[in-house]
Symmetry: C2
Subunit: 304 residues, 2 copies
């Protein structure tokens, strides 16, 4: 991730060799080394019951759902996926440095809207949940958006120990449920994905349902819609969605075997520390700090 | 910026009307209202001597340079632009959630590299500057990356009052000078632009030279290069640069008349507060906080 000039191979080599001629530097491992040697137990298989595949013409976007934080929304999303609600729907909004949004572009037109089928028409707002019983790996660094930040169920999250509440944080790649002005007006049919600087002001103001774990570049590089909100009014600019399916609805042999690094593992703790204080030769002054949304959440394809 | 469902016109109306049927809500103005009524004195014209036009086939990217923070780099960049160094060069790196990088894709090949002409081959690292004499509009909210954060010369910046230093912050759209491992190895010929979550760990580790003030979407929506660093090794994926010129090198009538909201103005202070505590009807719980890189830095086309 260093900002090297184009001779990256030569310079990647320089960086790798640097500890040899800089013996005063403490031996701190970088992300690739940490991940390469992480024991199998530090990885978890994505649960096909809470993994969505969104297939576009350009490829597959994989979303991990967060039923621990938004159980009613995730139930609706499972129903909608099972009934093919999004098949032939579209990505209709791309706002630079904010979100991509997809679903039924005609949702608010009673004559043209897709039928929600067996999904519920009204859900509770799931902006936060009880922190009781929730395993929470706290980040050593605080931020101004939440009393505590860290990771829960593999997602970036905030926690208020006084109120006893926890919530998912709007980091890059997080998926939320679009709504109208009423807090309980989202049903999970219109979803958005963060593609820019983390809009943490939305935390606890909208229901977050999961995270994109693969294929972000298929969303983040889409042509931006017109200012100010990025809605593509021209249907020719809509990006068609072939299908959105639960991984569990596919035969086991056709599922992606993705694994996420456990955020409660020793490998993850080492990774966080290696990012809080960058020790590779590129960094002149390690920050001694990291923001929640700068922490990488590694996902890999399982070895055969 | 609310995450409304597609009936945006109807809902934008709802939001505008909300104060009428929610009279308990304090009357706080939103960004559009603040900007629309900002007095002329709260806007500053971009100085053509420190404004770069990067012309791509897709349109123009406008960069405001920061000679107050990186005088030697900006001097080199002016020389390079004046001599047409980047004309026919390319954007050769697009790393998702990190940076776009452009310049001479062959910079490290002595046989194929472009000549730097009258530009200096060695510059001092300009990672920070003296805070003495620098007007600094401090943000009321702290973050973990710097003792103080705020705005200086229109840019997001950090400041250390004990060390007496200030520096530019790696927010979305900021432009920096790529370098090798040595701190003083950048010359301003290879530049990068932040297109994702702010990589603030780079602050004070690399020379920041300015900010994209128009045309970000021409960079941020480019197809991503291969992992892990996003360098497009296939030259067919390189995005050609038609030219990079200083605005002052064009006849006055051909320059864009862009104006930036002064970050030391009352309008900007009101804007910051309106974003720290979102009071429009969409927000159930205003954050009472904002991170430096979430503060909008408005730029407009001057009225004729």
């Amino acid at each position: 991730m260093s900002l090297l000039r184009p001779a990256l191979l030569a310079c990647a080599l320089c960086a790798a060799l640097a500890p040899l001629h800089a013996p005063a530097q403490p031996q701190v491992r970088g992300m690739q080394e940490i991940l390469a040697s992480a024991p199998a137990a530090d990885w978890r298989e994505l649960d096909p019951e809470r993994t969505l595949y969104m297939d576009l013409d350009s490829g597959r976007v994989v979303i991990e759902l967060a039923p621990g934080f938004a159980p009613a929304h995730v139930r609706n999303i499972r129903t909608l996926a099972g009934e093919g609600f999004w098949d032939g729907a579209a990505i209709y909004r791309v706002q630079d440095n904010f979100v991509v949004q997809f679903g039924d572009a005609n949702a608010d037109d009673p004559a043209g809207a897709r039928d929600l089928g067996g999904a519920r028409r009204r859900l509770p707002a799931e902006f936060e949940r009880s922190a009781a019983g929730l395993e929470f790996t706290e980040l050593p660094d605080a931020d101004g958006w939440a009393p505590q930040v860290g990771f829960a169920e593999g997602f970036p999250a905030g926690r208020d120990p006084v109120a006893g509440k926890a919530w998912l944080a709007h980091c890059y790649g997080m998926v939320g449920a679009g709504r109208d002005l009423e807090p309980d007006s989202s049903v999970g049919a219109e979803l958005y994905v963060v593609i820019g600087q983390s809009p943490r002001q939305l935390d606890r103001n909208i229901t977050v349902v999961g995270r994109v774990v693969q294929g972000m570049e298929l969303l983040s590089a889409l042509p931006r819609g017109p200012e100010p909100m990025g809605f593509h009014e021209d249907p020719a600019m809509h990006v068609p969605i072939r299908s959105v399916r639960l991984a569990s609805s596919l035969p086991a042999g056709e599922r992606l075997r993705l694994q996420a690094l456990r955020t409660d593992s020793a490998s993850f703790a080492e990774l966080v520390e290696s990012r809080r204080n960058r020790r590779d030769a590129f960094y002149h002054r390690p920050a001694g700090h990291i923001d929640l949304c700068n922490v990488p959440l590694p996902v890999r394809v399982a070895a055969e």
